[in-house]
Point group: C2
Chain length 278, copies 2
């Protein structure tokens, strides 16, 4: 298989590295809006060579779109215009509704939406790691128009990269990921941001709690701005559910209501264990 990688950052780069290591693909041609990132992708062994999007897509058997979420629908159109008929095209975006609708609209390609539940606070081709997806879940979001064989091929590629494959409706994906991924980012950004003016007096006093709770607040903004805009309604609904819970906490602390706090702590521990499958 000849793979065209559109976007050579952490996730796309790691997928290409994992597929090469597994022997699942014969070659990788990459492109990136940032010429330095494209050059680094070759230097890091992610891509054999680079070229303009139209050219690299025209000769590919599989196209992986790993650009920021909001650019994916338009990129799908560009890929469809340049690819041979029937080319398998997939993506790695963190939201899926608009993307699978763009895939359904695009003619001539076989599109399958996918979202690997893996990432780090780092970014760029130099952070790519062939082991990033090992044991992690990848959600495929086929629609009624998705080609079943294409879906199976994408599933096999992710399995070759070490991931566990599951399926979910795209809009349901966006609603649920808003709870377990997008909301935690808002919470972490707000927690670190709320301490902005107190940094001098707080420097050096943080233990593991603050460090872990805000780890994802060190993620660069580009990816999450896209997600917050793209998935606005679902994120807002969970933000409001969260603010309702914070209001319960504020009242319990103000009242010294140990019974209520104990009840909410028990609920939090049970919910966390249930969501993590512990």
């Amino acid at each position: 298989l000849r793979l065209a990688l559109v976007g050579c950052g952490l996730v796309g780069g790691s997928f290409a590295l994992a597929l090469r290591e597994a022997g699942a693909i014969a070659s990788v041609i990459g492109c990136d809006a940032d010429p330095q990132a494209a050059a680094r992708a070759v230097a890091c062994g992610i891509a054999d060579e680079t070229g303009p999007l139209g050219a690299i897509v025209a000769h590919a058997d599989v196209v992986v779109i790993a650009v920021p979420v909001r650019a994916i629908p338009e990129t799908i159109g560009q890929v469809a215009a340049a690819a041979r008929r029937g080319t398998l095209v997939t993506d790695v975006g963190s939201t899926k509704g608009e993307i699978v609708r763009a895939g359904d609209r695009a003619g001539g390609i076989r599109f399958v939406g996918a979202h690997p539940l893996a990432g780090t606070e780092r970014s760029g081709p130099d952070a790519a790691d062939a082991r990033l997806f090992r044991g992690r879940k990848v959600l495929l979001t086929p629609t009624a128009r998705t080609d079943a064989a294409a879906r199976d091929e994408v599933a096999r590629l992710w399995q070759a990269a070490g991931a566990r494959v599951a399926e979910l409706d795209a809009d349901e994906h966006d609603r649920r990921l808003a709870a377990v991924s997008h909301l935690p980012h808002v919470v972490a950004y707000a927690l670190a941001g709320a301490l902005e003016t107190s940094v001098p007096e707080l420097a050096g006093l943080a233990g593991g709690g603050f460090t872990d709770t805000t780890r994802i607040a060190s993620t660069p903004p580009s990816m999450w701005l896209d997600v917050f805009v793209e998935n606005r309604e679902a994120v807002l609904a969970w933000v409001d559910a969260y603010l309702a819970e914070m209001a319960i906490w504020r009242e319990a602390i103000a009242a010294g209501d140990v019974t209520k706090m104990r009840e909410r702590i028990a609920a939090a521990r049970a919910a966390r264990a249930g969501i993590l499958g512990a």
Copy 2:
């Protein structure tokens, strides 16, 4: 030095193990309100033997109080009543204002308040680890009445356990730790708790972001209930600062205000880096 350990949980047990490993103490006699925990402390090598508080304190050179925060002031009084005159007494509580005032009130002992900035979501003697404090900061909170030689002795013990020692006024400690430790716990509990009724549909979908952001929400409630009650006013002030930042976020997401979101993400990243000293 003969050490009496009042409370044989994670933090006290780890301190005793570290001091034994460093050769800084000759023996440890422990006590715990939970007889099973006391027995486990001997089984885990934390204490050589156990006994009732009055008896173990009477023969000690150093008494370490490692019981839940709200029990510490009363425990200081009990220790002072049983200890020989001039006995060095210190604690490991997460709040300090009420505790150092109790230490100042207690007659006959030399009390020094201390708070090691280390811990895990685990608890109990079986979780104790001699390396828990290596490279971590310990805040001593001496008052105007604290004996200087006693303060230096406690500093040396923590250094022997591998920690870096700093000093801070007790009330200032409580105000600052409310920001970098107590607030993150409220946020993490509220984040996991807000998802309580959606666990079935969210199970297995969480990646590293949710896992890390809510890690401290798996901490057992006993310790944090005490902190939230004891340090109520400081915690509430930071909760309100945080809710103001969340309101900015909610408005920016609702409006699709990418400029504002980018600004708050930059503020969050800078604040986090400044607080962690990166």
